[in-house]
């Protein structure tokens, strides 16, 4: 056991600061749900080209699989991976363990229960009529209680930190509060308190805030932590990073209504959402400039340092998706792209292209430390990256282009069949790009499994020269 004293007379038990086994379990759960979600996505892709292998089975009907696909990504893959990463980062940033190790394990088990019950409820036809909030209504209070326990577990360590907080902790602190409030607002208000267009407006806030106030702050918080320690240099400007944080805090919450342009919601509210979306694009630009300013002088790390490559590729996709967002929320764009595959392409670009890539970059860095052995194969790590990144870029491009075609066909008031036939080539490409992403994950799972085997066999690590230098700067 290793303990060390700090200048403020606290003793830090370094070995017990982070529960590595818990982080590993969160990651394994996250990857399991990613596998299930990708299966759901592939089934939907086959359904669109009229080759659904499960056709006629009600429990596996495409409408239900689609919801399993999206919910498994949000609450299974992303939530588990982000929570696991926070269990790594928060104690190391604050030099304080989380409130309770027992509570942490309870949260892990309870959250898997929530996700599995959600999947089961959706497949059995109990989905709540709210996009991204399809969790059956009887699970909502349990999920909210789970989120309250997460806040209780993390917040004391952050609040007790003395002196000006590092930007990561600001993001985490806000995300903890935001997620709880967003979940409560989205799942309870339209269900029990408001109806009609007001419920629609709240639903719009919910689906966008789930991305912007839960996934985004934790994702950026993690980038502000992992990028400097991997590049071994501080972030370019901490002041600019705080501008990004407070900009997100003040401008993001209003923009969800941009999902409901051309609806009965008052135009001033729709215009407000458009303006705040464009304002957030400026905030995003400040964050991107900060990270690329940090990379300046260490550009070779983008080639040699695999986690850094994952992170910065995700950032490029983030900039593109936010730029796309600033345009697509204008009324001119919406008239063409609304309800088309453009939106699906946009969603894949942000969920997998940004946060999925960041998470896989973090796992690429941390898995060897959690398993206790270097990666089995650097080549498999490379395959994982290229298959994921190229397939995702191809899928997003394909869907965005397909969406434009669909939009123009609809505007021309051609029969519905015409738009289906026009979409078919794009949907065929979508299947192959999905298979490419899936193949990338299979490669990753094989690499993890083989690394586990090496660790269990007690195989000696390769000499430094021969070792897969994933983080060689």
């Amino acid at each position: 056991m290793s303990s060390a004293s700090l200048t403020d007379n606290r003793t830090v038990d370094v070995d017990r600061l982070v529960d590595r086994k818990l982080v590993l379990y969160f990651y394994l759960a996250s990857l399991t749900y990613l596998f299930i979600s990708m299966l759901g996505g592939l089934l939907m892709a086959f359904q669109l080209i009229r080759h659904n292998p499960l056709s006629g089975i009600e429990i596996f009907s495409p409408g239900r699989w689609r919801m399993v696909h999206t919910n498994a990504i949000a609450y299974g893959f992303l939530a588990n991976a982000l929570l696991g990463s926070m269990f790594w980062a928060v104690p190391r940033l604050t030099l304080r363990p989380v409130l309770s190790r027992l509570l942490s394990w309870f949260i892990f088990i309870a959250w898997q229960g929530v996700v599995l019950a959600t999947a089961g409820g959706i497949l059995l036809g109990q989905a709540q009529g709210l996009e991204w909030g399809e969790t059956p209504t009887w699970i909502d209070p349990v999920a909210l209680l789970g989120l309250a326990l997460v806040v209780l577990n993390f917040l004391p360590s952050i609040v007790m930190t003395k002196g000006p907080l590092y930007v990561t902790l600001w993001y985490f602190m806000a995300a903890l509060v935001w997620t709880f409030l967003t979940y409560a607002m989205g799942n309870f208000m339209p269900e029990y308190f408001v109806s009609g267009s007001a419920a629609g407006a709240v639903g719009g806030l919910f689906i966008h805030d789930l991305v912007g106030l839960f996934v985004t702050p934790i994702g950026w918080g993690l980038m502000y932590y992992f990028v400097p320690i991997l590049l071994k240099k501080p972030i370019w400007s901490h002041g600019l990073s705080l501008v990004g944080f407070w900009g997100l805090a003040f401008f993001y919450p209003l923009q969800g209504i941009h999902h409901f342009l051309y609806t009965p919601i008052p135009m001033f509210l729709q215009y407000g959402a458009v303006i705040s979306t464009i304002a957030v694009e400026l905030v995003v630009a400040s964050v991107i400039i900060n990270f690329f300013g940090t990379l300046r002088g260490s550009g070779s790390a983008f080639i040699t340092n695999l986690p850094i490559r994952w992170f910065y590729t995700g950032m490029i996709f983030y900039f593109l998706t936010c730029l796309q967002c600033a345009f697509q929320t204008t009324l001119t764009f919406q008239a063409i792209i609304h309800f088309t595959d453009w939106v699906v392409g946009h969603a894949h670009l942000v969920m997998f292209g940004v946060f999925g890539l960041w998470i896989q970059g973090i796992m690429t860095y941390l898995m060897p430390r959690l398993i206790g052995h270097e990666w089995y194969s650097r080549r498999l790590c490379e395959w994982h990256f290229w298959l994921s990144a190229i397939s995702l870029a191809a899928m997003a491009t394909d869907l965005i282009a397909g969406g434009l075609v669909q939009g123009h066909v609809w505007r021309a008031l051609l029969p519905w069949d015409v738009s289906i036939e026009a979409s078919m080539p794009f949907w065929v490409v979508r299947v192959f790009t999905g298979l490419g992403m899936f193949a990338g994950q299979i490669v990753f799972y094989v690499n993890i499994y083989r690394t586990f085997q090496l660790a269990q066999q007690g195989a000696p690590e390769a000499a430094p020269a021969a070792r897969p230098a994933l983080v060689g700067a």
């Binding site: 940033l93 719009g204 972030i235 400007s237 001033f268 509210l269 407000g272 304002a279 400039i289």
Partner: protein, 107 residues
């Protein structure tokens, strides 16, 4: 662990960049918000076409008020003094942890 940090080098360009971005983002957004708030009051006073917009607006105002209070608290508690210091301290802490873990592994 040596927790004391030397003052970070003054990065004038970074400060200018920060100030420019703050102004570019904050001023237009505040003007826009004030205009929308006036419209909101007009709706609330009886334009029948959209009184249901009160729900999302109240949501936003509550969230923003909370963050405005937090911003004020942070300002009063010196969270923005030595604004570049936390980035150095974070790296030092991580390096210290890595050293401690390496020492622990070798024991």
């Amino acid at each position: 662990m040596n927790q004391t940090t030397s003052a970070p080098p003054r990065n004038r360009r970074a400060r200018v960049m920060t100030a420019v971005f703050a102004l570019v983002i904050l001023i237009p957004s505040m003007l826009g918000f004030i205009a929308k708030f006036i419209e909101f009051i007009a709706v609330f006073r009886g334009q029948g076409e959209g009184s249901f917009a009160v729900t999302p607006m109240v949501n936003y105002l509550l969230a923003t008020t909370g963050f405005f209070c937090l911003f004020g608290w942070a300002l009063l508690h010196g969270m923005f003094r030595e604004i570049e210091a936390p980035k150095q301290r974070m790296l030092e802490t991580e390096e210290w942890l890595v050293r401690q873990e390496a020492a622990s592994d070798s024991m």
